[in-house]
């Protein structure tokens, strides 16, 4: 075979191969007429939260929101702090607002515990480091996780300045008292964290911690000047965790009046 006819043959088989491949690929198509968002889904551009610390005075206030979140989302109760999984928990002033450290803190602030969770940052460090895009930022500002893609490298845990991520060192199912059949569990080898109840927002429901907080937590769209969160932020002095790191946390803390437990 001479060079000319060899090249011709190569071109013909190449084109033919592509045609056959495309033909086979046609079979994989889904038959859906349409795939769309639920008409009930909550619309937002930048979801955020304001936490009124004054409404969190005793252990019961924290337990209530953590329980609402953890039982619904099948978060296991492992007990061992080295292997625990947590989505929303509590910490003291020194650890929550380390950069505001002072030798002369009032006794009240020293005693105060703060609810802490994933901050759903504007420029999240965890998203930047994730090698598989398992952690990603949705258009509505939520830092979401696709557990199907997580390879368990834990770069995100190292990157997150808030310790908001937990790793499943083993199958979490034996540590879940009662599995909520509406929500998947996680599996060994994936990282998990607070999802801002994204599956509830997509159905038109609000986050569970807000519902369980008796007004201690307000959830809403930070981009909407008329939203409840913006109203609360406009009327109160608020602080965020570790703003100097530039991740832009979307969780605001206010020290509202009253000092009464919710």
């Amino acid at each position: 075979m001479d060079r000319r006819s060899f090249l011709k043959l190569l071109a013909v088989t190449g084109v033919g191969g592509v045609a056959v491949f495309e033909g086979i690929n046609q079979f994989g198509a889904t038959e859906a007429a349409e795939i769309k968002k639920s008409s009930k889904a909550l619309q937002g551009k930048h979801w955020g939260m304001v936490i009124d610390v004054s409404k969190f005075q005793n252990a019961e206030d924290f337990k209530r929101i953590a329980k609402a979140c953890h039982t619904y989302h099948n978060v296991p109760d492992i007990g061992d702090p080295k292997q625990e999984i947590k989505w929303i928990w509590q910490d003291d002033f020194e650890h929550t607002f380390a950069e505001l450290e002072s030798s002369y803190l009032s006794e009240k602030i020293k005693q105060q515990q703060f609810p802490v969770l994933c901050n759903h940052c504007e420029s999240p460090a965890c998203v930047r480091v994730c090698p598989t895009k398992a952690t990603f930022k949705r258009d509505d500002g939520i830092v979401a996780m696709d557990y199907h893609r997580c390879i368990g490298c834990r770069f995100c845990m190292a990157a997150c300045p808030f310790g908001a991520r937990s790793f499943n060192f083993f199958d979490p199912r034996p540590y879940i008292k009662e599995i909520n059949p509406e929500i998947p569990t996680r599996t060994k080898g994936v990282v998990e964290k607070c999802t801002f109840c994204v599956e509830r927002l997509d159905k038109g429901l609000r986050p569970l911690c807000e519902e369980a907080s008796h007004g201690g937590i307000v959830f809403g769209d930070l981009d909407d000047p008329n939203s409840e969160v913006r109203k609360v932020l406009g009327e109160n002095f608020s602080i965020r965790r570790k703003v100097e790191l530039g991740t832009g946390p979307s969780i605001y803390y206010i020290f509202g009046g009253g000092g009464q437990s919710a």
Binding site: T30, I35, K36, S38, A41, Y147, N180, V198
Partner: protein, 132 residues
């Protein structure tokens, strides 16, 4: 060929051993799995229809579930409008398993027969809260 007889004999023995699983099972076709549709929700349906035709679901459910997963998790799109204009929530737990609540007799019977082990069940649970 040196030791020709022995070599040929050994080759024949080798061929028989290698093909023995096929030879032993000649003419004994294993029955295709019977899928049970006997669940409370399906029994109550007047028009027993899945989100798409049974033929489509049989051959394409894996691809479909993959598409559903990506749409829901990454795009937040949760509603599937079927080719017959009906709307369904795209959810393994809250749509598929609500009707097919008999995972063992439905999902598993085919998967076991075809010896596929989808890792869906590592996280997704059947309605009894005990996905295997």
């Amino acid at each position: 060929m040196y030791n020709g007889g022995k070599v040929v004999a050994a080759l024949v023995v080798f061929a028989v051993i290698i093909t023995s699983p096929f030879l032993i099972n000649i003419g004994k076709a294993v029955e295709a799995p019977q899928l049970s549709l006997n669940t409370p929700v399906i029994n109550q349906m007047s028009d027993k229809k899945c989100v798409e035709s049974a033929e489509f679901m049989r051959t394409e459910h894996m691809q479909m579930l993959n598409d559903w997963r990506d749409q829901v998790v990454r795009n937040g799109e949760t509603v599937y409008v079927s080719s017959s204009e009906q709307e369904f929530e795209m959810s393994l737990e809250n749509s598929c398993l609500k009707c097919h609540s008999n995972k063992q007799e439905f999902c598993d019977s085919c998967h076991t027969y075809a010896q596929v082990d989808p890792y869906c069940w590592d996280c997704h649970t059947d309605t009894k809260g005990a996905g295997q």
